[in-house]
């Protein structure tokens, strides 16, 4: 019996530590399965897995053809979750997303008004090009993303856990799009930018997709396991100075403080408290994925950009000066110790 197992026996909860070790092992298997279909994009894959275990949603931003949809489909296969895809268009209606009540034929020739669930009733939802739908349709996702339920008429329908939304948007073709409102942006745990693959990755992509058939992705983890992992993630301890670091970072994005000169100059609205929650939850997942059992400052720094870049609204001066949220967050992180 190892020392840790002995201690776990003393506390009466022998499975938690083992589950943490199991989580890291399982996630490594998921990574390897995803890598069968996705070449490179390590940070994006890690971010998606992190959000999946933290219980959040991911907004993927990248040019067309970079494998966003492929990533979501592969992930759904690897984790053995129900997967559905909605192509957001300007004429897409909320009922097309969440479902609607329809007259259904019941027994004995009666007709009943029954609810026909929409594609949102799944475990893994791909909202492709979400910014092409109208704000009305976009808002249909708000309740589902936060409360994990949808309300039609006077009836609320609970979504099946785990519910994980992966939305994509194209940063280039902005004409005819409806930028996501801040309230909906804030509901995404991470905003991941999908970079263009490098030379080696591009060669590998060509080799895999133009010669022979692709490899089959196996399911290595299931929905209940993911839910158990989410519970384990929340038990990871975080030291006070790390948490204080998170608070400082979030407060530094607000222009209220007299000492936040950068925020005063360039930021119109800073991060919400969800940003701090994201940093800590993501840090816990990252610590477990790296085989640690505590959150470190490095975890926070690594998750700073995907956690806060979509929660900060720049002012006109920042746009005029060509500053981006990533620049400002890097600068803020460099100033705060």
């Amino acid at each position: 019996m190892t020392g840790s197992a002995q201690m776990e026996g003393q506390t009466g909860n022998p499975s938690l530590g083992q589950q943490a070790e199991l989580l890291a092992k399982k996630m490594q298997e998921v990574r390897s399965e995803i890598s069968k279909a996705i070449v490179g994009q390590t940070e994006v894959v890690d971010g998606v897995l992190n959000a999946l275990l933290a219980g959040g949603h991911v907004l993927l931003e990248g040019a067309p053809g970079l494998g966003k949809t492929m990533l979501v489909r592969t992930l759904a296969q690897a984790v053995a979750l129900k997967y559905s895809r909605i192509q957001f268009t300007p004429d897409l209606m909320p009922a097309d997303v969440i479902g609607t009540s329809m007259v259904q034929e019941g027994g004995e020739g009666k007709h009943l008004l029954g609810f026909q669930p929409g594609p949102i009733f799944t475990n893994l939802l791909l909202a492709d090009e979400i910014n092409r739908a109208t704000p009305k349709t976009q808002s249909a996702l708000l309740e589902a993303m936060q409360e994990k339920q949808v309300t039609v008429g006077h009836t609320s329908h609970q979504l099946e856990e785990p519910f994980f939304v992966m939305a994509t948007q194209n940063p280039l073709e902005m004409e005819g799009t409806y930028p996501l409102p801040e309230a909906q942006l804030d509901r995404f745990l991470f905003k991941l930018r999908v970079p263009f693959p490098g030379r080696e990755d591009l060669h590998e992509i060509l080799d895999r997709t133009t010669a022979g058939a692709g490899q089959q992705v196996a399911s290595v983890i299931h929905g209940p396991e993911i839910l158990e992992m989410r519970r384990v993630v929340r038990t990871v301890p975080i030291a006070p100075h790390v948490q204080e670091y998170v608070v400082k970072l979030v407060l530094a994005t607000h222009s209220e403080g007299r000492e936040n000169l950068l925020a005063n100059k360039y930021i119109r609205y800073g991060s919400s408290p969800r940003g701090a929650q994201t940093l800590i939850l993501g840090g816990k997942v990252r610590a477990l994925l790296e085989g640690r059992f505590n959150v470190s400052m490095e975890d926070i720094r690594a998750l700073l950009l995907p956690s806060l870049r979509h929660r900060i609204i720049l002012n006109f001066e920042a746009q005029a000066d060509g500053r981006t949220t990533d620049d400002l967050l890097d600068e803020i992180a460099g100033k705060i110790k």
Partner: protein, 475 residues
């Protein structure tokens, strides 16, 4: 649990007894690390105090003529610095949690130790805390505390060493030399450049001082300028009226001028030549006559009572002026007599025709060589030589008479220094007009003694002091 943890603002410290027994190995490592951190902190603070002490030593050795107290003070400050550095370091000593955080940063342990220490005081840790603690303890044997936190001199040691070398050299220099800053300042003060800058300033200051003294003396000597109700207060237009209205006032000024000892304007030179006392008596009577005349010849519309009041005030003014002048002259004569007597004593047995000293030489300038013994005698204090000398001096002083014929200048009390042969009085400078209420009798003060351009400015005060001391000794 969170509330318990928040109770320790700096995190759990070594003194807290609530640490889990599993963490003893980790705490031992952290204690040794803390000793090294404290040692480095004390060294750094002590070196910082030494920087100030050495700088103070250098400054003190540069300007202070005595070094013994400086060395003693430096030793005391060094001791205090050590004690203060140790006390302050111990007071602000880092807690175990802070030490663990530093070790995490230094060893790249990603906050494993600090998290374990922080949650090491939790009485009922969950499995994840225990797993984390085990993870942290597994890293402790690989820690190299001495390598991560070596005891080393601070980066300022080189600077302190350089300061120490400078201070030592300065003290070695001071064994045989004066403070270099003082010597440098003295040499700078003697330089031509500084002299050229400061000389006009010194002259101006001397003039201002003399004017102030003269003004004070004049104010004391003219108390009768008060205007009483019913007095004939001259209006400003009277100043611009010609001689018809100023005739009486001019007479008054003539009388005052006579009081000041100008024999040419008093109209009675014989009495002035008879001596100071006699001249003073004579002058005391003249203003009365003049004032009486003024009252009779003044404005015909004034009443007799006002005339009598004006006459009495003018009389009191002239009496006070005469009294002050008499005191000044008698003092000056007595000083001169004492100096001459000393000169006579010092030159007994020598050539009697040789000028005894510069003072007597000046006074007998108009008569050629004078008998020193005669000057030294008390009866000859108001003799021809002395009288003529003072007359010449006052001619120099009042060299620019009032074009209106009104004597409006007051001679200052002459000192021995001012009567030296090398003194060249500039009539244009050192003159100040004194504004008084009675605008018809404007007091004008002539100062001299500060225009001795032949004497370098830096020696003038010394010469002045020399003669003042000589005068005081004679008294």
């Amino acid at each position: 649990m969170r509330a318990d943890l928040k109770a320790t603002s700096q995190g759990p410290d070594f003194g807290n007894a609530g640490f889990s027994s599993e963490l003893h190995g980790l705490l031992d490592v952290l204690l040794s690390v803390r000793k090294r951190i404290l040692a480095n902190t004390v060294l750094r603070r002590w070196m910082k105090s030494w920087t100030w002490i050495l700088a103070g030593l250098i400054v003190a050795a540069s300007i202070s003529p005595k070094l013994a107290w400086v060395v003693i003070l430096a030793a005391i400050l060094a001791g205090i610095g050590v004690a203060f550095a140790m006390a302050w370091t111990w007071r602000a000593r880092p807690s175990a949690y802070e030490i663990a955080s530093r070790v995490d940063s230094a060893a790249g342990l990603r906050d494993r130790l600090s998290t374990a220490v922080h949650f090491g005081v939790v009485e009922q840790p969950d499995a994840m805390m225990l797993r984390q603690r085990q993870d942290a303890l597994s890293r402790v044997p690989q820690l190299n505390a001495t390598g991560l936190f070596p005891i080393q001199f601070p980066a300022s040691a080189t600077r302190i060493l350089a300061l120490a070398v400078v201070a030592s050299g300065l003290f070695a220099y001071r064994v045989y030399h004066k403070p270099p800053i003082i010597a440098l300042l003295q040499s700078t003060a003697r330089s031509q450049l500084v002299q050229s800058i400061l000389s006009p300033i010194t002259n101006a200051m001397e003039k201002d001082l003399q004017r102030t003294v003269a003004l004070v003396n004049t104010e004391l000597e003219t108390p009768a300028d008060e205007v009483h109700p019913g007095d004939d207060v001259p209006v400003a237009d009277d100043l611009w009226q010609p001689e018809k209205d100023k005739g009486s006032k001019a007479d008054a000024k003539d009388a005052m001028d006579a009081n000041f000892g100008d024999p040419d304007k008093s109209g009675n030179p014989d009495q002035n030549k008879q001596g100071d006392m006699k001249s003073g008596d004579q002058q005391q009577g003249d203003p009365q006559q003049s004032q009486d005349g003024n009252g009779n010849e003044g404005k015909p519309g004034d009443s007799q009572q006002k005339e009598s009041q004006n006459g009495s005030e003018s009389k009191s003014l002239s009496q006070s002026l005469k009294q002050a002048l008499k005191d000044m002259m008698s003092k000056s004569k007595s000083d001169q007599a004492k100096q001459q007597a000393d000169a006579q004593k010092s030159q007994q047995g020598g050539d009697s025709h040789q000028p005894p000293n510069a003072d007597s030489n000046k006074k007998s300038d108009s008569q050629g060589s004078s008998d020193a013994q005669q000057k030294a005698s008390p009866n000859s204090a108001s003799g021809a030589g002395t009288q003529q000398g003072s007359k010449d001096l006052k001619k120099d002083q009042v060299s620019s008479p009032d074009p209106k014929g009104t004597p409006d200048r007051i001679g200052l009390e002459a000192t021995g220094f001012k009567e030296q042969t090398r003194v060249r009085v500039d009539p244009g400078t050192g003159t100040a007009k004194l504004a008084v209420r009675d605008v018809t009798t404007q007091g004008m003060v002539v100062t001299n003694g500060a225009e001795q351009e032949n004497i370098p400015a830096r020696y003038r005060l010394y010469v002045q002091h020399y003669f003042e001391h000589a005068n005081s000794d004679q008294k």
